[in-house]
Amino acid sequence: MTEILLEMRNITKVYPNGVVANRDVNFALAEGEIHAVAGENGAGKSTLMKILFGMEEPGTGEIYLRGSKVRFGSPQDAIGAGIGMVHQHFMLVPSFTVAENMILGMEPRKGVAVDYAEAARITREYAEKYNLHVDPLQKVENLTVGMKQKVEILKALVRGAKILILDEPTAVLTPQETAELFEELKLLKQDGHTIVFISHKLKEVKAICDRITIMRAGRTEGVFPIGEVSEQDITRLMVGRDVVLKYEKDPGPFGKPVLRVRDLSLAGPQSKLLLHGIQLSVREGEILGVAGVEGNGQSQLVEAVMGRFPEAAGAIEIDGADISGLDIESIRGRGVAYIPEDRMRQGSAGEASILDNVISTRYKRKEWNAGPLLNRKKMWKLTESMIEAFKVKTSGPAQQIGMLSGGNMQKVVVARESFSEPRLLISEQPTRGVDVGAAQLIHRKLLELRKEGCAILLVSADLNEILELSDSLVVMYEGEIVAYFDKPSELSEQELGLYMLGMKRQDAEQIGRANHV
């Protein structure tokens, strides 16, 4: 092993809302390696990296770079020390060109003006050197996700980064783009760069990394040369038990369609079509999966069903009745439940209690009121039974929901939506960023609802989840449905990737099967 380049010792970090993200974490990087940091979401990987990049200050603990103690008060300090970070959500200015983004904050000058020619030259030089091919004059908003990521990596390199932190770089990429990224990372490694690769996709970790640090619940579970641990070992260490996300479910028969979407189209800004001629239906007892790379119209589809786009063309029917023009309250009144994709923004009110959070969809109904007053006692009981049924780790119904971990918070959201015996459940990224234990529990609840005859529309970026749970599957690409499968379990992730990328599409007749009659 080569020498230790960077070391983090006994890092503890507690967020103001009481979440302990890191607890006595130790982390060491050897020069010139690709080092994976694996762990489930909420295990503390991102926090640890934010501390390393100067975005968060540790409560206790020290950082050593080449043996000498350093303190990063801001990302500027970290960049100065040769550390670069590529965030999961890109930090680029969409309306600027690639070259302009590249030099942001370190503009080459010609007199008082910015020297754009020089900026383009620098970009080309680095792009050539590291084999990351980007067009310096293209606007960032016109780039694909994979290209944007290249720009981000180049941005860090231009700033002299020797240590590159990549936070879940493959989460937004198709399998093909991922393969390309790996080639680029290998080149960087040969060039003497050290890379921290954060991921929870074990196949990728095995494919590219030299060593792995495994984190669980804010602690380090161990550091291993990648050859010495199998995927099973890693999973066990990450979760604390073996998990196979496989579910037994009996196939159909499905009942009559609950949700029917006909010719749904929606124009976005610059009259670009966000949704184009969407046709689908979800039947009683059926889980219809919606797959696709994020940003291909899935969230618009869901929001349209929830009545957020009264201007959309086409028809949306629930149990045969048109719901266009109805507001969310009336749509929910027809037995529609909704698990929104962002539990912090749409799914919960962080500063309110768990109780206040679970009654938000039912407090108006008569049975929860006694005259002008809310029946708090009954609500308390309901909350307690939800906590029990979903095994939410909490001190009780009065606890602030914001104090819970991501997984427990999501359980509360799912509990709220599923306890009302819905006719139709719109489930958007139901297990994003939660630990496997919570994910399994949520999956089981979805299957329970399915068994009771609830129709479920499942939008997810997690291919394993969508292939395993769905009874049928549509793939969305650029606002259109490009494929329909009635036996998703026989589909491979590779094959699905081709449709998600828009490289393959079925003919109209095949796609039309998504609309069951």
Binding site: M306, G347, A352, D356, S360
Partner: protein, 349 residues
């Protein structure tokens, strides 16, 4: 968890402590007899029934505006319209109060109701503007304060002014409309009971009814409230109605209880004080009682000080500013909270 739970309370007390310390420092620097001045400032408000009565009298309007502002702040609406409404509703109540011919029971009720309703109607305008067009409620409410002052002075001068009075003031308010005194030897009037009832109602409304629930959820996370099916635009409108009503009743009660004639020729400042009361009380109606009394206490103390010693009452403005600054400074004592969190975490780890 014990310490963390009380963090906000401890923080508020620390703020008050620092402000008091600062005022002591001011007194020491200014006064020729600092010890005596401090005694006057701190103890004189309690020295007699009539002095303590002063504290209660001043606390009444502060509680009214404190609740009104708390309702709006709880919904994260930074609306300071209570100021103008308090003034204008006081004028409306006085206009009703100077009429003849109602008995002593109906007359004050009618005057207060008129003030309250007018307050609600005025308040709903920035509310609707906010709900419909997302117009910034701070801007609209502050502009309304100026408009209300101008219109109010016009009405006072052209319709209500008693030419025989030496100052700019209205005709005398009829004896039937004046609020009854309830504590002998003071000017404390029945408005105290009214405001305490309002506080109890506000508490029940906020924490026990579905409308209060809608308000709290809209304030906690408007997007979440929307997605749950709460019509947040409607919530914003009715909260403005309520807040305006409370401020309006406050202005009416103040005029009928404390003023023989309507004689405000400038905004009285109670609305802005209400913002301070609400912030100190963390927008919690029950805590408004304590924070209004505290504010009233240091004011009366300062007044006594200017009367009996050589330090002017204006010193209180310094203290208030310090309190406001520290209470609204989110980061104040944050380090301490972080340390407590860390300890907590290590203990549980």
């Amino acid at each position: 968890m014990f310490k963390l739970k009380y963090f906000e309370l401890i923080r508020t007390l620390a703020v008050i402590f620092i402000a008091m310390l600062l005022s002591m420092l001011c007194i020491t620097l200014i006064s020729k007899q600092p010890m005596e001045t401090m005694r006057v400032f701190l103890l004189e408000p309690f020295s007699s029934m009539s002095h303590f009565g002063n504290v209660i009298e001043v606390a009444i309007p502060l509680m009214f505006t404190g609740i009104s502002v708390s309702l709006l702040f709880k919904m994260k609406m930074f609306n300071l319209g209570a100021e103008g409404i308090f003034f204008f509703s006081g004028l409306v109540a006085a206009a009703v109060g100077i009429q003849n011919g109602l008995n002593a029971f109906v007359h004050p009720l009618a005057a207060i109701a008129a003030g309250g309703v007018v307050g609600a109607v005025i308040s709903v305008i920035p509310g609707v503007l906010k709900a419909k067009w997302n117009a910034n409620e701070l801007v609209t409410s502050l502009m309304f304060n100026s408009i209300l002052l101008g219109v109010g002075l016009y009405i006072l001068n052209y319709f209500l002014r008693d030419a025989s009075a030496y100052t700019t003031s209205s005709y005398k308010i009829q004896q039937t409309a004046v609020l009854a005194r309830i504590i002998p030897g003071t000017r404390v009037h029945i408005g105290l009971i009214v405001v305490l009832v309002f506080i109890a109602l506000a508490h029940v409304f906020l924490y026990k009814t579905r409308w209060g629930y809608e308000l709290r959820m809209t304030g906690a996370n408007r997007e979440f409230a929307e997605y749950s099916g709460i019509k947040t635009g409607r919530v914003i409108v009715y909260v403005h109605l309520l807040a305006g009503f409370v401020a309006g009743v406050g202005g009416s009660v103040e005029v009928l209880g404390m003023h023989p004639r309507f004689d405000w020729v400038a905004l009285p400042g109670y609305g802005f004080d209400g913002a301070l009361v609400a912030m100190l009380a963390k927008n919690n109606p029950a805590a408004v009682v304590g924070s209004a009394f505290f504010l009233s206490y240091i004011r009366i103390g300062a007044e006594m000080m200017s009367r009996y010693s050589d330090v002017p009452a204006e010193m209180i403005a310094v203290i208030q500013s310090v309190i406001l600054l520290l209470v609204s400074a989110d980061q104040f004592l944050k380090f301490w909270k972080n340390r407590m969190l860390l300890k907590e975490a290590q203990k549980n780890g």
